[in-house]
């Protein structure tokens, strides 16, 4: 049997919102350590890796490892039925073909449960190697979302250039060119507003704006976002989910097309 309970449905709502634009379906792999989901988007350009630790749940029980293939759109619809403050519990029997999602209001006066059919998804799991990234930028998630949104107006691609001076986001297109430079913050009162750059080597990579903007759907989950870059390696955009885990997006860089 599998049962996982979260104190606030809003967290799960945010998680679903963060992935449902990229993924139509996903398999939640449940084990005693927690819940994991890994899936590529349809075009196989980006990869989403979600980790929810078991200790982050109010209650977590997983007798046997369980893989639950779900239609994320359907799940998001169900989660919309929950109030933000509701407790949410996911339950599934071993070898079951449905999952039950139960919402309980804070005062226990309202309890609603939804049963959703599970899917047999034949999804490929990719082995993600341990990588030492040349540049790791931590910055406010809101700022990153803003930058991606703004630059998307200029071009389909964003060039992220990280040097010791700072990190520069550039886009060039029909309208013109846009450059946004962020320098490392000296000292800030609020940690969530800090921009920190951990650089071993300068890196310049080009990424598709569309995906970056899709990643920023996770902004409500975290105040800070971490961008890890290395030459010829996918960008990692990581949002920490407080006390629960993290969501990582991997995005393949755009590469020089020598054929043209």
């Amino acid at each position: 049997m599998f049962e996982a309970r979260l104190g606030q449905a809003t967290t799960l709502k945010k998680i679903l919102d963060a992935i449902k634009d990229l993924l139509n379906e996903g398999t939640f792999d449940c084990s005693d350590s927690g819940i994991q989901l890994q899936a590529m988007d349809n075009s196989h350009v980006s990869l989403v890796s979600l980790t929810l630790r078991s200790d982050g749940f109010d209650k977590f029980r997983c007798d046997r490892n369980l893989s639950m293939g779900m239609n994320l759109g359907s799940m998001a619809k169900i989660l919309k039925c929950a109030n933000n403050e509701d407790n949410v519990t996911m339950k599934a029997q071993d070898n079951a073909d449905t999952v039950t999602i139960m919402f309980e209001s804070a005062n226990q006066e309202k309890v609603s449960d939804y049963e959703m059919k599970l899917m047999n998804l034949d999804q490929e799991h990719l082995g993600i190697p341990e990588t030492e990234y040349s540049c790791v930028v931590r910055m406010p998630a809101m700022e990153f979302a803003r930058i991606c949104r703004d630059l998307a107006q200029f071009s389909e691609s964003v060039v992220i250039c990280c040097t010791k001076e700072g990190v520069k986001f550039s886009a060039s297109g029909d309208v013109g060119t846009a450059n946004i430079k962020l320098a490392q913050t000296g000292s800030v009162d609020k940690e969530e507003e800090a921009v920190t750059i951990d650089m071993q080597e300068p890196v310049t990579l080009t990424f598709a704006c569309r995906y970056l903007n899709a990643f920023t759907k996770a902004t409500p989950l975290s105040t800070q976002v971490q961008l890890s870059m290395c030459a010829d390696v996918p960008l990692v955009v990581e949002y920490a989910i407080k006390d629960l885990g993290h969501i990582r997006y991997y995005l393949a860089p755009k590469i020089e097309d020598n054929e043209t």
């Binding site: 350009v45 082995g127 389909e156 060039s172 297109g173 029909d174 080009t206 598709a208 097309d257 043209t260």
Partner: protein
């Protein structure tokens, strides 16, 4: 000229290795005579000046074990003696002579110096004519077979300006047939231009790299209206230098239109003056905003812009004009395929467009796509000026990079 005379006149360059065999062939002497003359000359030179000569000898003999017959070339008389001692039934002959310490290798084809001079002199005399008979391996750098036909075609035009259209067309056709290399270059020019522009100006980067190339060609064919010709041109300032090159190439090839311009630059006859007048008329009447007109008279206008002063009001900005100038030679080039200009008409240039496109299509698929785009743009000339220059830019940017796949970075479990 005898060998003795050549030696006396220092016409044989001993800085290079002089092979006795070459001398034999050149002066039709026996080996004995050649050898004697050469030895005498060397001795004389060595005694008269400090110059030392290095000799090589051909040695023939049987190896000591008697099995193997051996031919070898040895350097210097010391080694010659060694080898002669080594071999049985050995014999030797002088093989080559050169100034000791000379580093130059033997000339590929032996020629006494005077002979070379004579050849050069001949070439100079025949500068305007066909330098066909150069057979001595000495390249003078002016040997261009394409120029031959060019000059001949010019002659035809000058001498028979009243030739009928049919005739001129025939000559043009013949002209095409006779120089396939030229045709190639013609086809190449526009194709290259299309390559530069087509992808860049008409497409945006597709996230999926799989079908990108196919899409590109398709879109080039189907989306010509999106970017007008002007856009297309505006996008090309960067490669203008290459286009200029192409222009030059076009000139060097048998581009008859260009030839016409060249001729026009030297007004010599009444007919040419007439032509000039007519051109001016055309220019005066030509409205630059009239796109269709501009199409048909584009090449004419270029000539006028080239030849006339710059007082004429130019509505377009400098940049597009530059680009246009770079672009137009291609049309001119194509126009040559069709025919020459007759006394009054420039309409012939318009006629020439179709064959140009056809040629393009034949040349390569990219050229075909470009041609399609061009023709479509021509068919909708009203969209010309609306063309967003930025579209070109973005397109320019997009083909540079393609979206990689995440699977190529991570291994499957």
């Amino acid at each position: 000229m005898s060998l003795q005379q050549a030696l006396d006149d220092c016409l044989i360059d001993f800085d290079r290795r002089v092979l006795v065999t070459d001398l034999l062939e050149e002066y039709k002497l026996t080996y004995k005579e050649t050898h004697e003359l050469l030895e005498a000359h060397i001795k004389q030179q060595e005694s008269a000046s400090a110059t030392k000569y290095e000799k090589r000898f051909l040695v023939h003999g049987m190896q000591a074990d008697g099995d193997c017959e051996l031919y070898t070339i040895v350097q210097g008389e010391d080694k010659l003696k060694e080898w002669l001692a080594k071999l049985q039934n050995s014999q030797s002959q002088l093989y080559s002579v050169e100034v000791a310490g000379g580093s130059k290798s033997a000339a590929p084809i032996f020629k006494p110096m005077q002979h070379v001079e004579v050849q050069l002199a001949k070439l100079e005399q025949r500068a305007g004519a066909t330098p066909k008979g150069v057979t001595n391996g000495v390249s003078n750098g002016v040997h261009k077979p394409s120029e031959v036909s060019k000059s001949s075609s010019i002659k035809v035009e000058q001498s028979k300006p009243s030739a009928t259209k049919v005739e001129s067309a025939a000559t043009a056709e013949q002209h095409n047939k006779t120089s396939p290399s030229e045709q190639k270059s013609k086809a190449k020019g526009p194709a290259a231009a299309a390559k530069k522009g087509s992808i860049g100006s008409f497409f945006s980067a597709a996230p999926a790299a799989k079908t990108q190339s196919a899409k590109e060609t398709k879109a080039a064919a189907t989306k010509p209206a999106a970017g007008s010709m002007e856009n297309f041109f505006k996008k090309q300032p960067a490669p203008s230098s290459t286009q200029a090159k192409q222009k030059e190439e076009a000139k060097s090839a048998n581009n008859t239109s260009v030839q016409l311009f060249a001729e026009e630059s030297e007004p010599s006859s009444d007919e040419e003056e007439k032509l000039d007048k007519l051109r001016r008329k055309v220019v005066g009447s030509g409205d630059e905003s009239d796109e269709a007109d501009a199409k048909s008279t584009g090449s004419k206008r270029r000539r006028i812009v080239d030849s006339d002063d710059e007082e004429q009001p130019q509505k377009k900005s400098a940049e597009p004009q530059q680009v246009k100038e770079a672009e137009e030679p291609m049309e001119v080039e194509a126009a040559t395929n069709e025919t020459f200009l007759d006394d009054d008409g420039f309409v012939i240039t318009v006629k020439a467009k179709k064959p140009m496109q056809a040629a393009k299509k034949k040349a390569s698929p990219t050229a075909a796509a470009a041609a399609a785009a061009k023709s479509a743009a021509a068919s909708a000339p009203t969209t010309k000026k609306k063309s967003p220059p930025a579209a070109g830019k973005s397109a320019k940017e997009t083909p540079k990079s393609k979206q990689g796949s995440i699977t190529s970075f991570f291994t499957k479990k």
